[in-house]
Amino acid sequence: MPNYMLLLHEEPMDYSQFSPEQIQAVIGEYVAWRQKIEADGNYVGGEKLKDEGGRLIGSDNGQLRVTDGPYAEAKEVIGGYFTISAADYDEAVEISKGCPHLKFGGRIELREIEQLT
């Protein structure tokens, strides 16, 4: 089965007014989602990218340039990713639809990972 990557795009926001109850509810939703896809054998992995720091590296007229960013003030950043295995895009989309990230206002970019064979 091919693997798919869920790139979790989100708009940085202020969580200072979130209540402990709400925070617990958010974590609970992710835990439930992950346990479900683990039980179904679809979960491969996932990692969170640090909010702070980050570098953008590119070339500018043949010169390599390194700049700081993306900043937390950027309109949208990739907060982290999950890797899943699924039969095809249809199944991968169905799995992604259950990801709580969507419920909390984020977007998911779903991409199939190329395999050697």
């Binding site: 200072s16 109850e21 509810a25 346990q35």
Partner: protein, 421 residues
Amino acid sequence: MLSPGEIKVRDSIDHLFRRHAGQMVLVLSRIFGFEHLDVIEDAVQDALVAAMKKWPFTGIPANPRAWLIEAAKNRVVDNLRRSVKSDELLDEAATANGIDTLFFGSEMPDDELRMIFACCHPAIAPDSQVALTLKIVGGFSVSEIAPAFLSNDEAVAKMISRAKGRLRKRQVALEMPVADQLNARIDAVLKALYLLFNEGYIASAGDELVRKDLCFEAIRLCSILASHPVTRLPRVHALLALFLFLGARLSARTGLSGELLLLADQDRSSWDQEMIASGLQHFRLSASGTRLSEYHLEAEIAAIYTLSPDYSSTDWARILECYERLQQRKFSPVIELNRIIVLSKLSGPQSALEQLNKLELGRELTNYSLFYVTKSHFLTQLDRLDEARTALTTAVELTNNEPVRRFLIKKLCALNDGLFA
């Protein structure tokens, strides 16, 4: 690892994060000092948010509480380093090993008790005491507290910040009150807990579930007082008994579609028998000493209602006697209304209505929805339907609570159709 069942919210018992938030503030206040409360509260919030961002990807750590307290502690240290000149205390606190051992199991009665006394300090107004206790000890957020006060987030945030300012100004420390002040300080705490329970219990406004949580928080805090050797006084047991008797009926109070069910219409078999048993136990413990408090009388009334096999066999005479004794101690228009309702069971609607009209002259209850509900009820019994409708319309206008509004409107419709008797 936590099971999903453990992390499920909203069942009024499992509020892991709310409890953690409260405990983290307690522990960090002990380590760094109560004077840094604002920094500590911010750090606790930051740690919770960090967990929210990280745990979905990393999974929940083996010891979530230790993870959270460590994260919050590091933030406090960073923050204080920036604002205060680094000192030995900070270094020591920062390197303190096994900070988690500061939690004794999941309960920290001494810390909580000291914090409750600080939050209910007489320098703060009673309403603010309740809000501050909910925020600091209970881990409730401003947006959860505001509806209980029929207020908005901004106003409640201001009230809490003013209260904290007063504590700072007075240099209130986290300590048990000294012996000669203990009685008065305990009374202040009990009054705040009574208010807290009422915010949740009296249907004034807000989300049913959050209101239930307020009641359970009052029960939890009162239990701490009732089990601590310094504070387990008869009147503390009486208040806890009252809470437990009323709390046992909480979930029977609303029907399937969220409408209010009166005591007469409640399914008694759905009352929480464990809470009733615990209530009885504390009621027995309250029966010592020589001082009879208002809480004793209120607990006795609640016990009579709760223990009666059905509504019609309620011992009205005994309840009336309790209300009369309550009124002799300190007159309250709300208690007078309750007394008149009980009186109507014994001597009929006509004489009850006469007393109600007398009470109306005092004008204290002209904004109280329940007053007009009662009046309408008596008038209906006396077949004075036009007046009954007018009174009920006033009651509908005065209520902000949705289930109660729905209940009253249903009643009003029935009255209009002539079905209501």
